[in-house]
């Protein structure tokens, strides 16, 4: 098999698997901050029980996130050596900053969060939780900055030629605040908050339906529902603004999102469809004509450049980008609807008795996971054929010293180990959920 394809599959596998965990831990860390903050404020032991229970689950999620995350830090070097040489001068400083400013903070205070209950005062413990949450979000900031630079490179110039060409930084702040960074970090962080909040909602809805841990679940749900609702709504703003940035800087990607082929025509906004790559049109689709132009330019008649305005060798794979993008949007909308319903019934005072809604909440933890994964697929596959947009093609970035067979070996091992890891993780998580929180005296 082709070494480039194998390296891409391996990267896709390891990053998708890794990305099941960080959004959950970033979101849960935020939930923990509110829970423990409430405990400090009210001294109600219920909030302490909540913090302790979710902190233990946080620890489990975090450990798998760390174990799979170390792989990512080095995979640029192992499998994408040419890319690393090309971008190191620009991209590397974000990774270094991530280690220094985020990972140290997060992992040092994690020890206190998980094991320091009896060793520090409640205030210091809360501070540690806050630092873990801050560290986890900062790590997202730096890595999304680096990834955004690959989407919309800025603050650099190219030195050298041919195989020796590489990007060299000219302006750190321009590099960091490259055009797509702010929109994307909002989008990513809110996606993570949704993941954490919906996870809590899902577990607590299950408890309520089982008539277990009712006070606990109600209190957890109130905090999580507020976070879920605000971040779901916030995604509309960050998503919309991301779309405008993509239209401006990566027009071929936007065209792929919506299967927009015509060279210059108002863009249609599809709800669903199937991209026929041979006939170059969207089949079985339903959409609003002009709506894409309206969203991007506030004018439904304004034409947008379609795929045909770009040479075919610069097109990303179309259907996968189209489908993942639309799944993300559909799920995102569903999550908005569900959280608004939740808030509505809470306001009416019947949320915790509303069986059908609670039943819908149980599988809803999958929603943010699906949206996060498909969103990243749309973003990363949509960037193809470039590894650094407009500058370096993906197939040029691969390690020459690594043979296809070697990647096949590592890919097989990664697959086996990750399946094993996932099964164990799921088993332990479900067991912890079954056991439930230790309440009152037990928790002390």
């Amino acid at each position: 098999m082709d070494a480039v394809l194998l390296a891409r599959i391996q990267f896709a596998l390891t990053i998708s698997f890794h990305y099941l965990y960080p959004p959950l831990s970033i979101g849960l860390a935020l939930v923990l901050v509110f829970m423990e903050g409430m405990y400090l404020k009210t001294k109600n032991p219920l909030f302490l029980d909540m913090t302790k229970f979710w902190a233990e689950i946080f620890g489990l999620i975090f450990s798998v996130g760390v174990a799979t995350g170390v792989v990512m830090e080095f995979q640029f070097g192992t499998n994408w050596a040419r890319y690393s040489r090309y971008v190191g001068d620009v991209f590397g400083s974000s990774l270094a900053a991530e280690g220094v400013f985020a990972f140290f903070l997060e992992s040092s205070f994690l020890g206190i969060l998980l094991l320091g209950w009896k060793r520090v005062s409640p205030q210091i413990h809360f501070f540690s939780t806050l630092m873990v949450a801050l560290g986890s979000m900062l790590s997202a900031v730096w890595i999304v900055a680096a990834n955004s630079w690959m989407q919309t490179p800025a603050g650099f110039h190219i030195v050298g030629e041919g195989a020796l060409a590489r990007a060299e930084i000219t302006d750190f702040w321009q590099m960091l605040f490259n055009p797509s960074f702010l929109d994307r970090i909002h989008h990513v962080l809110m996606g993570a908050w949704q993941a954490g909040a919906w996870f809590v909602l899902s577990v607590c809805a299950y408890y309520l339906l089982r008539k277990k841990h009712e006070d606990f679940s109600k209190a957890c749900m109130k905090i999580a529902l507020v976070i879920a609702c605000l971040s779901s709504m916030g995604q509309l703003i960050s998503g919309h603004s991301s779309g405008i940035t993509v239209a401006k800087y990566q027009p071929a990607k936007l065209a792929a999102f919506e299967g927009h082929f015509k060279e210059s025509a108002p863009g249609k906004l599809y709800f669903f469809g199937w991209v026929d790559e041979k006939e170059e049109r969207v089949k079985l689709g339903f959409g609003l004509p002009g709506m894409l132009s309206l969203l991007v330019h506030f004018n439904p008649a304004k034409p947008l450049p379609g795929l045909k305005s770009f040479p075919k060798e610069n097109w990303p794979p179309l259907n996968i980008v189209f489908q993942s993008y639309h799944v993300m949007i559909a799920v995102g909308m569903g999550l908005i609807g569900l959280s608004v319903l939740g808030i509505f019934f809470w306001w009416r005072g019947v949320l915790f008795r509303n069986r059908w809604l609670l039943m819908l909440f149980i599988p809803a933890f999958l929603g943010p996971q699906i949206a996060n994964q498909t969103g990243w697929i749309a973003a990363e596959v949509g960037r193809q054929p470039w590894i650094v947009y407009g500058l370096l093609r993906t197939h040029e970035g691969v390690s020459k010293a690594v043979s296809a067979n070697e990647i096949l070996v590592s890919l097989a091992l990664f697959t086996a180990i990750y399946i094993f890891l996932f099964l164990l993780f799921a088993f332990l998580l479900l067991k912890k959920i079954q056991t439930g929180p230790a309440e009152g005296e037990l928790a002390k």
């Binding site: 170390v70 690393s84 590397g92 040092s108 590592s410």
Partner: protein, 342 residues
């Protein structure tokens, strides 16, 4: 920017500092892991895990950060070394994954078979990770077949040359000594006595392997042989390391455990420091042609990026040292088993 300092040298120092920090900190929990299977009974194992539970994760960040800084400051080294040692490095990552998971998953069920699996996993992955660090170190010292365009041209099996295997064994023996000395500090009673015996054996074994490695290095590594001929005084360095190792024995005998542990740290700092000094300005030595070495100058990023990296280190490291130190202080003293889940 024209600064009167050598940015490349300073960046090299930052990388060495992070790697040395990694070896000292994750080093002791590798050692605890390697010794884990020698503990008697569940209670001792839990206490051993308890000594590293709050720290191991933070310790690993030193490696991750070293990787990030290497990527930023010396991207060519990052690219050539990690792609060159491909399968070796992937194995190392798997070992780290298993370690993390073993530590975290072990206590989640109380069944004997479950804990037995993770005990074995923790022990084996700690030994494997330590061994592979030594393999990488040995290969870097010997020099690797690096082509003119900076690509590794050797094979996976070529990494396991006798010299690098010896270096791998040395790394494991250092970690065992270091971890045992750490356990002596953090435990009491019967376990502490056992840790003392492990520390004595570990230190003796380390001194034997280290002397073999010194011989191997002086006679087998071409560029060091040349260096020794020009500057015979550098042979004083291993002599100092031996003095430090004897110091460890003396302090252990006098039950000054903290000093013994710090001497163990010092021995590693001496080894890492002297090799780094001998390497400079090279980062990766090409066994094919001396013109193809990767150096802190030809493999570095622009001076602008180097100054950014140094600024990040300058701003970040005081904070990192303060809260790392704080966490170690919070969890100081002898480990008692309480309701924590290890």
């Amino acid at each position: 920017m024209n600064l009167p300092v050598d940015l490349n040298l300073l960046s090299f120092c930052v990388v060495v500092f992070l790697l040395a920090g990694y070896l000292l900190l994750d080093g002791f929990d590798f050692g605890v892991g390697a010794l884990h299977c020698f503990a008697k009974g569940e209670e001792e194992r839990r206490r051993m895990l308890g000594t590293i539970a709050p720290f191991w994760d933070g310790n690993e960040v030193w490696l991750v950060t070293a990787g990030g800084v290497l990527f930023a400051a010396f991207p060519k080294v990052y690219a050539s070394v990690f792609s060159g040692f491909y399968l070796g490095f992937i194995l190392f990552l798997f070992a780290l994954i298993f370690r993390a998971v073993s530590i975290e998953f072990r206590g989640k069920l109380s069944a004997g078979w479950w804990r037995g699996i993770w005990d074995a996993g923790f022990c084996a992955s700690s030994i494997l990770a330590g061994f592979l660090i030594g393999i990488v170190f040995g290969n870097l010292v010997r020099g690797i077949p690096l082509s003119a365009d900076g690509e590794f041209t050797g094979s996976f099996l070529s990494l396991f040359h006798p010299y690098s295997v010896l270096s791998g064994v040395m790394a494991v023996s250092f970690f065992v000594m270091h971890g045992a000395l750490y356990l002596v500090l953090r435990t009491e009673g019967e376990l502490q006595e056992r840790a003392r015996r492990w520390a004595a054996c570990g230190t003796a074994f380390f001194s034997v392997v280290f002397s073999l490695l010194v011989f191997g290095t002086v006679f087998q590594v071409f560029w060091i042989s040349t260096l020794v001929k020009q500057q015979p005084l550098i042979l004083l360095t291993p002599a100092v390391v031996f003095a430090v190792i004897s110091g460890i024995f003396i302090e252990m005998k006098k039950r000054r455990d903290l000093r013994a542990f710090f001497l163990s740290c010092f021995s590693m700092l001496l080894i890492a420091g002297s090799f780094s000094a001998a390497f400079f300005p090279n980062l990766v030595i090409s066994s094919l042609h001396s013109g193809q070495h990767l150096t802190v100058y030809n493999a570095a990023s622009s001076s602008k990026t180097l100054s950014i990296v140094l600024l990040i280190a300058l701003i970040g490291s005081p904070a990192v040292l303060v809260y790392t130190g704080y966490v170690y202080w919070v969890f100081r003293g002898k480990v008692k088993l309480d309701s924590n889940h290890y």
